[in-house]
């Protein structure tokens, strides 16, 4: 035996063993990408380098042998620097998306590609479970979310984005129809958490904390839970029955819901903190913003959310026949469409820019118009004019678009001396909402009057008190933003309760340069939307406008997904090594070596643009299987793995043994699985045994949601058997 020291630890290793083998036996991890015991050492990736005392060069630990008294450092500054640059170079030439853009653009990082793909495959319950990993209120959110995911969806470059939000609502509705999914909860932790506010943020935090085994109580000032989802969104968009069902599921996880209690009246943050191990403040923003326009104090001028809340609670204010709504966002749309339904004859939307700049969802704008709403674009209220203290008319300043402002939209500028006056019975100001500052005066506030919360850890000025959602930092935003914050906050609170550290650093992932993607080979297929009630019927009642997807339509729409995210995301060794080091491949941004091309046979798919040339596929095909179906071609940066004689893979001697796929450290080679739509899934792999010609043979079985996805040969017998994946699967006991 040889005695050596690795990272200060005394290690013994048999003579002739490599440093890598010695480190592995001693439980010390050294990253490798081109090494595998099945084949001869190669030395391409250079990630296994280590520093040895007295040796000026870095050693590749996969080949350097141990020697007596050797002092090795596997994580020295020089070693880390070398690996970091290697990874930066490698990733600068790795043209692939780890995760689809839809997921990245979702503030809650919902696995959109995953559930869309599962819906396409008809795996509705699996889809719902995947959604519920990130959103506990998917039927509600699917209906109301302005879906940033769809803005990022690359299908828009073919024709239109996937209808992701409606697909989410579909999967959730399917779940609500029968036995709804209630996640298993972890054993009770004995820790108590109070959540102030039962809106999307508070409910989300409560749900995930409960699943983690904590005892959670939600306190809310209103009669029912739901917050702005209940009191800010009209019934025709989100029927409250749907919300009720979803809240009932949250309650089933053990969350206690307490309504009609108000912060500052019934309890304080400090009093809750005394009774609990942690407090999460998620009180929302419940005050309508002012326009600071003359005449705002007149009777008949209402705040947008105040108006909506009144309608929902059954005490709608008097709005008369002529109503003007000021603003261009979704609250303005909710207000104008509600006004129509209340029976107003002339409903105006006053907006200072044009339709193209309106922040509201395009569908909402269109549906409101169908229902008779009149848009007054490029106008801005100069004054609300009253008679006997009641609003009578609005003087509008006519505007034109000037230079773009900080938001990139063209700034509206008044046209000197041009005004217009419209008669109104009431005005609804839907230009934003604010926190009621008095409620949270126990905490430090920022200059905007919102709670100051750490953007990563959500901590506030009081230890153990965390704050999330509309009440914090930059103020009100969309529900999914609050849900995302709640999800991240829960991880921090859980760590806080357990007294452990938590990592909030966003790990590196690889993303393709959007400008280089070619869609010309994609067949155009129109986006499907659920049917809606006819405008002349729906404008007279509060019935839900959207009728939701049918199963067939949902599957068809989900099938349009381009599958941008990598299927090997969950087991990509390359990504794991990349995330180990704080890398910035953009420093070396340059040409990509390979064109994005796909080649496949019945079981294996090749994507050369992700190849890192570790050579494991080529070497295993040659050294282990003696098949030589693939080899290296070209030189320098253009080097490429190619099937023999540059033929398509299925015209080579490849026998589909799958060893190359098994050894591929990234998503360049993937094994297809038994579902029509290939979805990146966190599969579970188990080794099982089958009988082939009377001999016991090992196979790897991947399962997801209880279903077998792939059966992969795992020894010489199964690899050389010539059996198809289906035949192997049929042999499973």
């Amino acid at each position: 035996m040889i005695n050596l020291t690795i990272n200060g630890k005394a290690v013994q290793a048999p003579e002739g063993s490599t440093i890598l083998e010695a480190a592995k036996a001693a439980g010390i991890y050294i990253p490798t990408l081109c090494y595998d015991e099945a084949v001869e050492v190669y030395g391409a990736c250079g990630l296994c380098v280590v520093e040895a005392q007295g040796i000026p060069k870095l050693l590749r630990s996969c080949s350097a042998k141990v020697s007596e008294g050797m002092v090795v450092n596997t994580e020295s500054e020089r070693v880390v620097r070398s690996r970091k640059v290697a990874m930066e170079l490698l990733m600068s030439a790795h043209d692939g998306d780890c995760v689809a853009p839809c997921q990245l653009n979702c503030p809650a990082r919902t696995d959109c590609q995953g559930y869309v793909g599962l819906i396409a495959n008809g795996e509705f319950d699996a889809a719902l479970k995947l959604i519920k990993n990130k959103i506990p209120l998917p039927a509600s959110i699917g209906r109301v979310c302005p879906h940033p995911c769809e803005k990022a969806c690359r299908r828009k470059n073919v024709e239109e984005p996937i209808n992701i939000a409606q697909l989410k609502a579909f999967a959730a509705d399917m779940d609500l129809k029968s036995d709804s999914y209630v996640p298993e909860t972890a054993p009770a932790s004995g820790k108590k958490v109070a959540v102030i506010g039962g809106g999307p943020a508070g409910l989300t935090a409560a749900y995930y904390l409960a699943v983690m085994g904590h005892s959670v109580t939600v306190y809310d000032m209103m009669e029912k839970m739901g917050g702005m989802l209940r009191y800010g969104i009209p019934q025709y968009r989100l029927p409250k029955e749907v919300l009720d069902k979803e809240i009932a599921i949250i309650e089933k996880t053990g969350v206690k819901l307490v309504n009609n209690v108000k912060l500052g009246v019934d309890f304080t943050i400090k009093s809750l903190k005394e009774e609990n191990d942690a407090v999460i403040v998620a009180v929302g923003a419940w005050k309508s913003s002012s326009m600071r326009t003359k005449g705002e104090e007149l009777d008949g001028v209402y705040g947008g959310i105040d108006f909506l809340r009144g309608v929902i609670k059954g005490n709608a204010p008097e709005i008369g026949e002529k109503v003007a709504i000021c603003g261009g966002g979704n609250t303005a749309m909710d207000a104008c469409r509600t006004a129509v339904r209340l029976g107003a004859k002339e409903v105006y939307v006053v907006y200072r820019r044009t339709r193209a700049e309106m922040p509201a969802d395009e569908l909402e704008i269109r549906e409101a118009e169908e229902e008779g709403v009149i848009y007054k674009f490029l106008t801005n209220p100069l004054s609300f004019n009253g008679e006997n203290g009641k609003v009578k008319s609005i003087t509008l300043q006519l505007m034109e678009l000037g230079e773009p402002d900080a938001s990139g939209r063209r700034r509206p500028v008044p046209i000197e001396g041009k005004t217009e006056e419209i008669d109104v019975d009431s005005v609804i100001l839907a230009i934003g909402q604010k926190l009621v500052t008095d409620d949270v005066k126990e905490l430090s506030l920022n200059e905007r009057g919102n709670i100051e919360a750490d953007p990563d850890f959500f901590t506030t000025s009081i230890d153990g008190v965390f704050a999330i959602g509309d009440a914090t930092n930059r103020g009100a935003s969309i529900a999914i933003e609050a849900i995302g914050e709640a999800d991240r906050c829960v991880k921090v609170v859980d760590a806080y309760l357990k007294g452990i550290d938590v990592e909030t650093r966003v790990p590196y992932i690889s993303r393709r340069d959007e400008s280089t993607i070619d869609y010309s080979d994609r067949e155009k297929k129109a986006r499907l939307t659920p049917e809606v009630l006819p405008a002349d019927i729906r404008n007279k009642n509060f019935d839900e406008v959207s009728l939701g997807f049918t199963e067939e339509a949902a599957k068809e729409e989900a099938n349009r997904c381009l599958e941008c995210g990598c299927r090997e995301y969950y087991k990509c060794k390359l990504l794991k090594v990349a995330q180990r080091y704080d890398i910035d491949p953009a420093r070396f941004k340059g040409e990509m070596p390979q064109k994005y091309t796909r080649d496949e046979n019945a079981f294996i798919e090749r994507n050369t643009s992700k190849c890192i040339l570790c050579g494991l596929c080529v070497r295993s095909c040659r050294e282990v299987m003696d098949i030589h179906a693939i080899g290296l071609m070209g030189r320098g940066f253009k080097t490429d793995v190619s099937p023999a004689f540059a033929l398509p893979l299925n015209e080579t001697k490849c026998n589909n043994c799958g060893l190359c796929v098994q050894l591929c450290p990234t998503g360049s080679l993937t094994e297809k699985f038994n579902l029509p739509k290939q979805v990146p899934l966190n599969e579970e792999y188990t080794e099982e045994f089958v009988e082939i010609d009377g001999k016991k043979s090992s196979v790897l079985v991947s399962r997801y949601n209880g279903k077998v996805l792939r059966v992969i040969p795992n020894d010489a017998i199964s690899r050389n058997s010539g059996l198809t994946r289906e035949e192997l699967e049929s042999k499973l006991s």
């Binding site: 190669y42 250079g46 380098v49 020089r78 640059v85 170079l89 080899g631 030189r635 320098g636």
Partner: protein
Amino acid sequence: MRIVIGQGSCGIAAGAEKVKKALLNTGVSADSISITGCIGMCWLEPIVDIYDDENKLTRLVKVGEGDAEKIARFVETGDKALVESLVVSDEDSEFLSKQTRIALRNCGIINPEKLEAYTAAGGYEALKKALSITPEEVIEIIKTSGLAGRGGAGFPTWFKWNAARQSAGEEKYLICNADEGDPGAFMDRAVIESDPHNLIEGMLIGAYAIGAKHAVVYVRAEYPLAIKRLRNAIAQAKEAGIIGENIFGSDFSCDFMIKAGAGAFVCGEETALIESLEGHRGMPRLKPPFPAQSGFWRKPSNINNVETFANVAWIINNGGEAFAAMGTEGSKGTKVFAVTGKVKRSGLVEIPMGKTLRDVIFDIGGGMKTDKDFKAVQMGGPSGGCIPKELIDTVIDYKALGATGAIMGSGGMVVMDESTCMVGMAKFFLDFTAKESCGKCIHCRIGTKRMLEMLERITKGEGKEGDIELLEELCYSIKDGALCGLGQTAPNPVLTTIKYFRDEYEAHIKDKKCPAGECSDLIEYKIIADKCKGCTLCARNCPVNAISGTVKNPHVINTEKCIKCGKCFQSCRFGAIVKE
């Protein structure tokens, strides 16, 4: 009188074959004409050497077909006046007279296609001598001589031989690396074309020393003449019992094989060379194990460069001490350089170690061929580095050259004057190594490509603050992380140009100017109105009609249209066009 025509690749390219035919046409007897290899004075080819009956040489240079008649009459009459205009000048003769030739001792003198010519010059005596002593004694002589690997790395030859000798196993291989790939280097080609038996003799001595029964020459396929002459020499040696069983009646047997490489630069790296020999893609193997333990067919193998072997016979004949008497403390013997570029006399130069770069470039090479000043010399090709004029007195010694950031290298020496852009020069070599990378390791495959892209941006005027530092960081990472010598040395041209010409990089990046006026994206051609005579020549030469003006009036260049080809600049006879 004997007529000897220089028929190395250089001579043939310059027209030596035509001269020979023309001479035969004049009636000169074929028997009186013989050939020799590369004389080394490549800029004077074709060269015809006439030896009179007392073996006195008259060297005629830059000979054309039209000179055949004169030469024939001179041979007939001995009247030197006939060929006076062709006789090499005294000044040019110094190119050879100032050299000390050991590896090249027979080059340009003997007929490379005749074994007798080699034996007449004392050939194969060293082999006989070596076979009369033990292999250990042979290694001891080489050790005394201080001979180090001439391929570039400068590793002591005796040490490698000894390691291979000590390695267990009956089956061993001796391999000659003749995959000379540096742009501008042609030392090895000249040795094989001009004195193939010297290589064979050196290799046989090496094979005897390490205990190999098989000798292999890996030579680039782009050297057809070298391959042809080496094949011929091997056949002659076999017939004479010099190659084969029981050589010179001894117990020593050795066969010989030639393998033509397929043109990959990386196959000059010893482990990639072995992969290629075995029929695989030329990619380096991990070291350890070193070839001395596990090489060709996983057997102990020793690999030396052509020039290294070319010294061996001389050392055995003259003793290790004689070789060691030349040179410096750490570098013994002589070194051959292929001097090219902006130097007046380009060709093969062999001089003792310890001479200075000035001796080679100015004393032997004659200085610059243009009126521009000497700027720098690139040593060791793409793996080497540049040495600026301030360091022109650096002595030729492995350590001293290494200290400059350049390397001794295999002997390529590219001389540059003030008109060479050093960023452009680094880019040229990086382009070469990036393309020649085998693609195996990350640092070399992607790192050299990214460096090249940065250099391309800089020379286009798209460089940005921080680029130099990023380049340096990448350089050191590649040196540290690359798998083989190709990658580990690829950053040298960049590092040395940054070290000595940082201001030139900064001018490209900050001022968007190329001080040498070579980067076309960063220069502009202008006509100085006062100097322009309105001759219209420039306008007529402009391929894109970017120059306008009327006769006898100053012309103007439309810089929007100008493609910066430089035709106008070259054509102007009044110095009215300037590059800025």
